[in-house]
Amino acid sequence: MILKELQLLTPELSLLVFALLVIMLDLFIKQKKVLVVVSIAGILVSAGFTLSLWGIHATDILYAMLSVDQYALLFKLIFLVAAGLVILASQDYISKFAQFQSEYYALVLISALGMMLMAAAQDLIAVYVSLELSSISLYVLASFLKDQKSTEAGLKYLLLGAVSSAVLLYGMALVFGLTGHTCMPCIADSLKGMPISNIMQSPALLMGLILIVAGFGFKIASVPFQMWVPDVYEGAPTPVTAYLSVASKAAGFAVILRVLFVVFGATAWLSQDWGLLIAVLSAITMMVGNVVALSQSNIKRMFGYSSIAQAGYLMVGLAAVGMAAGSDALGRSGLLFFLMSYTFTNLGAFIAIIAISNKLNSDQIEDYTGMSKRAPLLAIALTLCLVSLTGLPPTAGLIAKIYIFNGAVNHGLLWLVIIAVINSVISAFYYFRIVKVMWMGAPASEEKVPSTWALRVALSLCCLFVLLLGVLPAGFMGIAQAAVKIFTGS
């Protein structure tokens, strides 16, 4: 029994072992390159274990705290891929904190561990603990540069994160108080047992729902909990920003989808209730993200607002899940496909930015002028990712939007899709402004932009997947559909 559970935990355990190994090795080893190899090895081993469990029948472990199922496994793989790509891409950046490399790698691995547990968490307590595990690592990572901006970013992230954690806990407490359970399926069962009129008239339950949505809203950067995003994105080391923008957001969506669907999807009425709430928040989030991004001159801040806008599109999918009330899986699988697409696209863009800003020592968009001549491959890759973020063929971004929008239209959210499409048009303006300055301007200097092979490998992988998901989506969609199958039972 114990052995069986340990076997199901091998992805997490192996990652933990390697994270500790990185810290220990740092004490004895002079050649710090070894640490990168060990970290990447840890990720590969963990990914290997994850794949060895692939296709498993959903199993509860640790007294139903965690559930090992296809949904969790897919997210684990996404986090591992993101962490691996970020570590590879950090090689061009690492000189800024060379002394503390081992801590950096270990923290990236541990936060990934936290996210993996989040995706598997099946109990509100487990959700909260794993959330904190990943968040605290990220607070430290955000302030890793130790200059004024980075410290400020870390501190803001920590304090606002604490506020949101408190909000989340209040919400969980209310739900626990009403139903007497912290385990998600048990809460759902108990809600199903209540008469609908009771649920409708229960302010505590609805307040709990709102507070929980707000708590995760912070994590996924939804309005009105998005204020931290631009400041933290700008101040944090660029690889950490990349990591925050994809892995942390994906983890937020992994949990919020599970909580909302399993707990609050218990009755169709409740499900459509939060569906509408998310839909309204999604519309505002898209508008704010895109409109404010228009007037940014710093590329990292711009990507901060862009990531808010992308969260808005993802929430369109989430709203579709709510409105569907379990009747079809299009919204859920679309959401997962969008997350896969967004992970590769946004990471690809950030990896190119890491290389370019490193050389320029600037994050100003105007300094990217003529980059196609100084770094043609980086410029091509960044252009491809921007095209994907806009949602144009032949990239992943287009197919992802098609899936999500289609799911929303099928469940009476046509108005939201219209807003989302208008927003896509607005977003083209600021994404393509970067493309324009890169390709049409004359460069300020002819100096080439250097990049390490590790970064190039990471960037090529991202671009490859952006194209693969865009050209041959059916296989990836199949994976997403298999992952959300675990929910169809409830």
């Binding site: 606002l160 609805l206 709102i210 707000a214 009105p224 909990f225 400041d231 299009l330 041959l472 059916a474």
Partner: protein
Amino acid sequence: MPYQIPWLIFLLPVCSLLIIAFILRPFFNNRPKLGGYVTIAAISTACALSLWVLATVIAAPGHKLDIPDFQWLVIGNLNVHFGLLIDSLTAVMLVVVTIVSLMVQIYSQGYMDGDSGYHRYFAFMSLFTACMLGLIMADNLVLMFLFWEGVGLGSYLLIGFWFHRPSAANAAKKAFIVTRLGDVGFLVAILLLFAQTGTFDTEELHALAIAGTLGGTVLTWVAIGIFSGAAGKSAQFPLHVWLPDAMEGPTPVSALIHAATMVAAGVFLVARFHPLFEHSEVALTTVAIIGGFTAIFAASMGLVMTDIKRVLAYSTISQLGYMMLGLGTGGVAIGIFHLFNHAFFKALLFLGAGSVNHGTGTFDMRQMGGLRKAMPWTYATFLIGSLSLAGIWPLSGFWSKDEIVASALDKPILFYIAMLTVFMTAFYMFRAIFLTFEGEYKGGAPAEHGSHGPNNSYGPHESSKVMVIPLVILSVLSVFSGWLNVTGAFSSFMGHGGEVEAHGFIQGFFGVLSHPVPLISLAVAALGVFLAYAMYSARWISAEVMGRIFKPMYVLFSRKYWMDELYENVIVKKVLINGVFAVLGLFDEKAIDGAINGVANGTVAAGRELRRLQTGQLQFYAMFIVLGLVAITVCYYIFA
């Protein structure tokens, strides 16, 4: 046969394209011959596999192979899949395309020798062949349309291959734009079909049309839309104007794309969706009438052209019209049989014209003459091609042309048109032969004309072996390919088994001469040959005198019925540029730009204002979270 084989046929030219573009061009640019070898290796393998597929299809029950689908995109009820439809029509087309393509690639090694764009040429040829193979194997309309545009792209790139010549660049644009006009109709038909039936799948659409679920006016409009796409690609009246100009491309390109395969894609498309046409009398009649009219209309212009490639171009348009006529009156087997034969002899004729050009440096027949002795192989093969095209018994063109003429028998007007076209065809082909190969050599090209390396200092000379061998192979096919249907085997393979009376080979071979229709058409063709002989070889009749007598007609034909002028000066300049575009431009400038700029400025201004909320103050951020929470809660309780 493993089901991967058809996929492999498609992937082979794709691979040769990728190898040339990403390996040979960047790293082996100093060894251009490699590009030709890679392409020929890929296409000869594809050709062998196509023959295997053909053999398998002949043996298969129902002449159809089941190839598992490959899911591409599934959104809700919309299921777009990559699938292959391998039936008798596809198998025949595969063989035609790969054989002609192989011959053309081998020939191109000699023709393009020394050209600075050698790699680029073979890369584009591979691209075109891949798209063409994809088009004929696709099992749904989406994929078909993709490759349909792909062959259009290949054609555009190859017509404009010598893009530094303005005439080539313009011809490429013209070809692309004119065929695009037809494609609009095709696209509308695809969307209409999907809206009506919810499927893109070819066979499902066939079944719906046969069952009558898809019928009436909708079916007619769909069929006409499909035909408009086909008319664009196959250069049917009134969209024929691009094909003669497309002769600006290298001659092997004209042989492959603008004679044997791509222009035949229109005919293939109508054949592929023939069950839809069969259930709409209007559409089928439209196909027959447009086809018949194009046949005679283009042939009349071919009578007076002085450029040998243009004669062949008008002949191609005319023969494509024939095929359409055959599809409209007789059915798939008849139209495709002519396509099959035509591909070989017309490719042969174009390659022969290229060989002549290689020897003399010109395409102008007035500067040729007497080449029979200097270029015996080219002459012999060109003569075989011409006899076949003119429909002389027992060469291949006779058999398919005879079927088309016979099938038009119950529509008297179309029948007379077909007969008249037979006469014209024989006349213009033998006019070309007598002008080019007989009489005295008139000196070839003036010095500045030689665009790609023919060496005039030696006088006219036979082309190299690498060019002559494809000519010989194609001439053998031009003699014998028509014999496949002497016993009715081809027709029954194409699915007309019930209607065709099967008979022995000898009986069919000679018995056909006992029927009146083939005899009349043979006599008419012979008359055409004789008239050409009398005018251009024996000179019993002076061509100048004839020209003066029929002056109005001569001018009409040689000015191409003023169609180019009509399109350019009247429709494009007067109606579109000065009329429609001017009004739209004004609307765009004032109304649309105004609105867009207004919205854009408003959005940017909103962004600037909203940005002010981002104060950087932590207390304010925390307060915003709390206020946001309160706002959500209040709204929630008010509205829920």
